[in-house]
């Protein structure tokens, strides 16, 4: 690691690696630090991603694809099942990744593009000068050193401490953290091509339970619930254990995964003098699905491009980096996050009976093309008793 870089990236998840790779490809000197001893491990993810989105960043490789999906099944609180076939879901169909290998591949690509990578190296404080970020203090195996940078990219995931040390409040409200537990289970009866989502207050209050296939008899079986609903005896793990005991009593757990996902609005501002915040650290997870891999890669790449522009103009002030903030907000991901936050807020307030009603009528629909808007339109036509709820939802979508 050098004493100074053009760009210093904190965290080697998908957001950090895409930032580091892009910045290096643009000819900048780049350092990327990861506090864990191994990139990608332990896994904190259910590993689902859309095919089209993924291909924007990396060529799909069977080395890190565990399952190629054909359909999704949504199960209502009363057990009614609704299938979304791939023809209907369009680009929504995707892969289940093997993130240990995937994340490592992305870090590798950053290194190959020319970035320096250091693992077991933690940023412990920013270097601040005249109210702007000038680098970071790094701690690596008992050694502390200062590394300067024109732009620091904070890609430090859900913890998001780096930006906090820079004076930005990154606290996730309790009701908007999805507290999650997941088992990678094997020897279970599942359909290897179908992702399953179970909804309802008994199964997963203000969240959902998922079964994401990872091969013939193997799947990520996990749950996320609102932090508001979590407490002694009713934590994410308690719900998961109850489900697994009844559904997969003979399954074998070969990995135990926990984590937190934000479903709040993104940070009000994701750039500051000498600092850009990307991925989970910026709270750009899709609040409806909890998916954040694509958004992390998207914001990571965009951050590196903006940093390169700023550096070439010799101005890394907040004003010079703000185009990053407005660009992602105006992009499809920014718009989706804004819209899905409202849908999420709407759905978590629905009692189970209304959710059952919606899924009953949706299950009987024969939609040519699945989109949330189409779904709501069709449902309104057929389901006069839900007209008030659905009108509210439609208003949000338009």
């Amino acid at each position: 690691m050098k004493a100074k870089y053009d760009v210093l990236v904190i965290g080697a998840g998908p957001g950090g690696s895409l930032a580091a790779r892009t910045a290096a490809e643009l000819g900048l000197s780049v350092g990327m630090v990861e506090k864990r001893p191994a990139v990608g491990a332990p896994v904190r993810c259910a590993e689902g991603i859309g095919k089209e989105g993924l291909a924007e960043f990396v060529k799909p490789d069977p080395c890190w694809i565990s399952a190629d999906l054909r359909r999704a099944e949504i199960i209502a609180p009363d057990g009614t099942s609704m299938m979304l076939e791939s023809e209907m879901a369009g680009s929504k169909v995707g892969y289940i990744l093997d993130r240990k290998v995937f994340d490592r591949e992305l870090a590798w690509q950053a290194a190959e593009a020319g970035a320096d990578v250091m693992v077991k190296t933690r940023a412990t404080a920013p270097i601040l000068e005249d109210g702007r970020v000038r680098g970071a203090v790094l701690s690596s195996c008992g050694e502390t050193r200062n590394v300067e940078a024109d732009v620091v990219i904070a890609a430090d995931g859900v913890e998001s401490k780096f930006s906090r040390w820079c004076g930005i409040d990154t606290t996730i409200p309790v009701r908007e953290i999805m507290t999650s537990a997941q088992y990678l289970m094997t020897d279970i009866d599942i359909d290897p091509y179908t992702t399953v989502f179970l909804l309802g207050n008994e199964v997963a209050p203000e969240g959902y339970l998922w079964i994401f296939p990872k091969g013939d008899r193997t799947a990520n079986v996990g749950i996320g619930i609102s932090g508001k609903k979590s407490g002694p005896g009713h934590r994410a793990r308690d719900y998961l254990d109850r489900f697994v005991a009844s559904r997969f009593p003979n399954g074998k757990t070969i990995e135990h995964i926990v984590g937190g996902v934000s479903v709040c609005k993104p940070l009000p501002c994701t750039a500051a003098g000498g600092l850009v915040i990307v991925g989970d650290a910026a709270r750009v997870v899709d609040p409806l699905t909890g998916g954040g891999i694509y958004n992390a890669m998207f914001t990571g790449r965009l951050a590196a491009k903006t940093a390169a522009d700023a550096i070439s103009c010799g101005d890394c002030s907040k004003e010079a980096l703000m185009p990053y903030d407005s660009a992602w907000r105006e992009s499809p991901i920014g718009k989706t996050i804004a819209r899905n936050w409202h849908i999420k807020e709407y759905l978590i307030r629905l009692p189970d009976e209304k959710l059952n009603d919606i899924i009953h009528s949706a299950a009987s629909l024969n939609m040519k093309e699945f989109s949330t808007l189409n779904l709501v339109r069709e449902l309104m036509k057929r389901n006069p008793k839900l007209v008030v709820e659905l009108a509210a939802l439609r208003a949000l979508l338009l």
């Binding site: 506090k35 864990r36 001893p37 332990p42 904190r44 077991k120 933690r122 995931g157 859900v158 913890e159 998001s160 401490k161 906090r164 040390w165 990154t170 606290t171 996730i172 409200p173 309790v174 953290i177 507290t179 999650s180 537990a181 932090g227 979590s230 407490g231 002694p232 934590r235 994410a236 793990r237 135990h256 995964i257 926990v258 984590g259 937190g260 934000s262």
Partner: protein
Amino acid sequence: MLQVHRDICGYCGCCVSVCPEGALELIDAYLAVEDGCTGCGICAKVCPLGALEVVDEGKV
């Protein structure tokens, strides 16, 4: 004060993200409680495993 049950903790960082004081820091697999913890218990509520407990000073 806040007690971390290390045999339960899965070092996931979920608690770190909700602490209003920024008093938690994950050092790889070790969750450190730093100065500034007010004992509010928010982190203990959200932990997916129940590894955190706010305990009475006297009892520790």
